[in-house]
Symmetry: none
Subunit: 134 residues, 2 copies
DNA sequence: TACACCTTAAACACTTCTCTTTAACATTGC
DNA sequence: GCAATGTTAAAGAGAAGTGTTTAAGGTGTA
């Protein structure tokens, strides 16, 4: 079984690139074309994305769906909604309003503009009162 | 491109199993053998491991290993330990104790129960004092 | 012992990923 | 313009992962 998602080739490229080398320089070192370095690097980042998505799924696995924050909602109203729905389930949310709003926003900043939600956000909660946003 | 590392089949099995069903019951529902459910479930957990290893690699790419927080440690003691070890390396941690505890906890809430660590957590630090937990 | 539950190994068809080359296109800075 | 950097698409060979069956081996418990 492969260790991690990244191949040796992909790690090699990422390490060299991290030191500041250009794709061409890396290509010269590992004896291939710069186009290939680009492809390998891209595949590596796609794998990293997939790894993140996988762990997100894990979080939602021991959580249950709490509510959906509809597009256009004000973040402050969203927080109120979350507290209400959590209370219905008898779960105490681990965060206060300010922390909660920051957490929602940080989960994927591009989904918000100013205080407003731009696209539906699914909210999950576990028994400890942790929240996840999908 | 597949979304995440897990196949639909693997997620399906994990979800059913999470509800408490036996492998045989899941097998009946998804119309296959219990041996196959076992195989799929195992593959799913291997994929989850690989996802974790992948992100660990990412952290280590521009960070170095700082310490390991042992299972059973109190989060407050963990924070103290981190500050001490960072000082040994001559690196100033970017966070105060409260922020630090929140960051550790948020890195993967399921690894904690109340103030205690449920499984070992690897801690990485970079020259800017950013912390990562694997 | 018998039963329910879980795990493992081998084998197979099938699909997907990986690395590679080649050739073209986009962006930036001189 | 042109040189350097990075990106993309198409195509192919080889490698790796997936779901499946069958058959055997564990573990725990009534």
């Amino acid at each position: 079984m492969k260790q991690g998602l990244l191949t040796d080739r992909q790690k090699e490229v990422l390490r060299y690139r991290k030191t500041g080398l250009t794709q061409q320089q890396v290509a010269d070192i590992i004896q291939t074309s710069k186009a290939n370095v680009c492809t390998i690097e891209k595949a590596a980042y796609e794998n990293i994305e997939r790894a993140k998505e996988t762990l997100e799924f894990l979080y939602t696995l021991d959580s249950e769906h709490l509510c959906t924050i509809k597009s256009g909602t004000d973040l402050i109203d969203a927080a109120t909604l979350i507290f209400q729905d959590a209370e219905k389930l008898g779960i105490k949310v681990k965060y206060n309003t300010l922390e909660l709003i920051n957490r929602i926003h940080d989960s994927n900043p591009s989904r918000f503009r100013a205080r407003y939600v731009r696209e539906d956000v699914e909210v999950y909660i576990n028994r400890e009162g942790d929240l996840f946003f999908g």
